[in-house]
């Protein structure tokens, strides 16, 4: 079992004909074919307005998401369109009935995302991202830019605000023999489609997930809220890591959301909130895999 992605997942890529969109669609197709040995293809084509009817490396291209839904039965979209078109792409996907929209695009204007999120909230579509690495259920499907080989099948649910740090965590878990049920990068922007609490709820209710690793970073108070939620609702072992202990206040650390402002959102506050509810917090970024092991052992 897993969350968000399963054997019925059928994916298209919005922005397929761009350089990154094509490269990663190919990688996702390879992963489905070589690592998952699926009977039917997972990656079914893509959308680029004006290029409908053409084909790129075996992927059919459609003008609209609705066309792709009708032609190939897509229920999931991986969004690679340039930032200024990203909100429209998300809204279009939801409007076409796509159930899971994974927005990889980095640099989307914040108010565009406010508009897109307002729209998505009125539908039954789920948005992950933007500015995220995507979603992978090892052995089933990879929808995003994460390297496939670092992931192994298993029972840890992984949630992260950071892209490459997610890879680091999955890789470290692999080295200590912990596979993943599903890994979700939620994205580093202030306005995102799916947050820690949404996923904690899904993982808590997923029979295929036995433990949860949560990776946060400085800025905002999403980690503090997640800690409260875990205390109330999550019975599975949880480990966590917070990036940015040495980040100076007032300086934005790459992610639009990663800034300590007005003395709030520091790593120390977040670590304290997580530890206060009994979560095993990795003290070093090299300790994420082992922290997950300790949390599991403690609750066993």
């Amino acid at each position: 079992m897993s969350i968000l992605v399963d054997k019925d997942t059928r994916v298209i890529c919005q922005g397929l004909t761009g350089r990154a969109g094509l490269f990663h669609s190919q990688k996702c197709r390879e992963y489905a074919r070589d690592e998952c040995r699926r009977d039917s293809p997972v990656f079914l084509g893509g959308v680029t307005p004006g290029k409908g009817g053409t084909e790129v490396d075996g992927f059919p291209v459609f003008n609209k998401v609705a066309d792709a839904v009708e032609a190939v039965g897509a229920n999931t979209s991986m969004v690679f369109v340039p930032p200024r078109f990203c909100a429209d792409a998300i809204i279009e996907a939801a409007d076409a009935g796509i159930k899971l929209i994974v927005a990889i695009t980095e640099g989307v204007p914040v108010l565009d995302m406010v508009r897109a999120k307002n729209y998505i909230d009125q539908t039954d579509s789920r948005l992950v991202g933007p500015n995220c690495p995507g979603v992978i259920t090892p052995g089933v499907a990879k929808i995003g830019i994460m390297p496939g080989y670092i992931h192994t099948q298993g029972t840890v649910g992984l949630i992260s605000r950071s892209g490459t740090l997610t890879y680091e965590a999955a890789w470290q878990m692999g080295r200590v023999g912990l596979g993943q049920s599903t890994c979700v990068g939620i994205g580093g922007d202030p306005i995102i489609g799916t947050n820690f609490i949404d996923l904690l709820d899904l993982f808590q209710n997923d029979p295929g997930t036995e433990a949860i690793l949560m990776i946060g970073e400085i800025g905002g108070n999403a980690e503090e809220q997640a800690a409260e939620y875990i205390k109330e609702k999550v019975t599975k072992p949880v480990a966590a890591f917070i990036a940015g202990r040495t980040a100076p206040p007032g300086k934005r650390m790459g992610h639009a959301g990663a800034i300590i402002s007005g003395g709030k959102g520091t790593a120390a506050e977040k670590v304290a909130a997580l530890e206060a509810v009994g979560i095993e917090v990795a003290q070093s970024p090299a300790d994420m895999g082992e922290a997950m092991q300790r949390a599991i052992a403690r609750q066993a």
Binding site: A20, K117, T164, I191, G244, T246, K264, A286
Partner: protein, 395 residues
């Protein structure tokens, strides 16, 4: 992107928001002329820098001169301007280095009845912009929030419909605005919200927002910043950028599509991804080193951009060793190695280099590293990398 107070007020005025009359002065003579032209008995002359705390701030070269002064004559304007222009203002927000004042803003004096706080930011929790108001104008809002949270009022508004009349009413009630002041708020508050949305602001802070003796809401200060990702649709705003206010290396990195923040240590870092970059800094510190910078090359960087990243790091005279930590996803490891070899060729490494690679195309990248005859220290994981780079400084 931040802009100056006078620029913010000019944009507000253009959007139909009432602001005090003010004139920009770049020389002492212009300052004197501005006072005369305003025609009042009193004016305020304010240093224009991208930092707060100007009133309490003092100049390095003129220790008794505050960054904001009340003036009562053209001669006073000239004399003060001479002590301010071209000098370095140090405030609680500028750090010890301070900022050079190149522009003054001379503004008419107002009959102030009350001082309020008003700010608009995008709130992650409600998923949209929120108006934050307080009866405690002039104070740092974080302090008010910490000490007297009951004096802070919030109204989240929908970007499609703006601030509703009922929301204006409730803010007016909470702030105790009556009569003409309440009527003024009915115009001022929705207009400011509209301005925020139409210009893709990331913050609009009016502190203090004064209520004049005549009952008009008037911004005494204006701190406006914009969403960098939306500047493409606001050409006029993008032109207001003042590069002299920004760190030169950070500007250079931004031009190459890199995210760079200069820090005090001596270990240069080149990492992909903000989270991993912060973690790499954390780990260096944990092993007794000090990072010289945060540098996220991002996912889409090409060889030229990564080579530029090495140039920026190596141009920092404090850098005594460099750590490259790449976990390729959208970024390909071979692109990084190509850039490393390019940097050896064109920039030259005079300090030790430790490289840790994992992820997309890592095998190809490792072969390229092994085939080169460069003196590069490779590391297998994060801890190994941090220990090795710290060790190069001790050796």
């Amino acid at each position: 992107m931040k802009i100056h107070e006078y620029q913010g007020k000019q944009l507000l005025a253009a959007a139909g928001v009432t602001v005090p009359r003010g004139i920009v002065a770049r020389t002492p003579d212009e300052a004197a002329a501005a006072f005369t032209e305003l025609g009042g008995e009193i004016a305020v002359m304010k240093s224009q820098i991208h930092a707060g705390g100007r009133g309490k701030g003092r100049f390095k070269e003129q220790p008794d001169q505050p960054g904001v002064v009340l003036i009562r004559s053209a001669d006073e304007a000239r004399a003060n301007a001479e002590r301010m222009l071209g000098n370095t203002l140090v405030t609680i927000q500028t750090g010890e280095a301070g900022k050079t004042v190149n522009v003054l803003f001379v503004e008419q004096g107002l009959n102030i009845a009350r001082e309020l706080y008003l700010g608009i930011v995008v709130d992650r929790e409600s998923g949209g912009p929120v108006v934050i108001a307080s009866s405690e104008g002039g104070m740092a809002i974080e302090e008010v929030a910490a000490e007297t949270p009951e004096k802070i009022f919030r109204e989240a508004f929908d970007i499609g419909v703006g601030l509703l009349p009922s929301q204006v009413q409730s803010l007016s009630d909470q702030l105790g605005l009556e009569g003409q002041a309440a009527r003024s708020a009915e115009v001022f508050l929705p207009k400011l919200c509209q301005f925020f949305v139409e210009n893709d602001c990331s913050m609009a802070e009016i502190n203090p927002l004064v209520v004049t003796a005549e009952g008009e809401l008037t911004p005494l200060d204006a701190k406006v910043s914009f969403d960098d990702n939306a500047l493409f649709r606001h050409e006029g705003v993008a032109e207001l950028r003042d590069l002299s206010e920004e760190d030169a290396a950070e500007v250079r990195a931004g031009n190459a599509g890199l995210s760079y923040v200069n820090l005090d240590g001596n270990i240069g870092c080149l990492v992909n991804g903000a989270g991993l970059a912060m973690s790499t800094m954390d780990l260096i510190k944990l092993h007794g080193g000090e990072p010289a910078n945060f540098l996220d090359v991002g996912g889409g960087a090409n060889v030229e951009a990564v080579t530029e990243a090495f140039r920026i790091i190596l141009d920092d005279p404090n850098v005594k060793a460099v750590l490259v930590n790449i976990f390729g996803g959208i970024m390909k490891c071979d692109t990084i190695v190509e850039a490393i070899l390019e940097a050896y060729e064109k920039v030259g490494f005079s300090v030790p280099l430790v490289v840790r690679l994992e992820g997309t195309n890592v095998e190809l990248a490792r072969t390229m590293l092994a085939d080169s005859d460069r003196d590069i220290i490779t590391a297998t994981d994060l801890t190994d990398a941090a220990k090795k780079v710290v060790a190069t400084l001790i050796a």
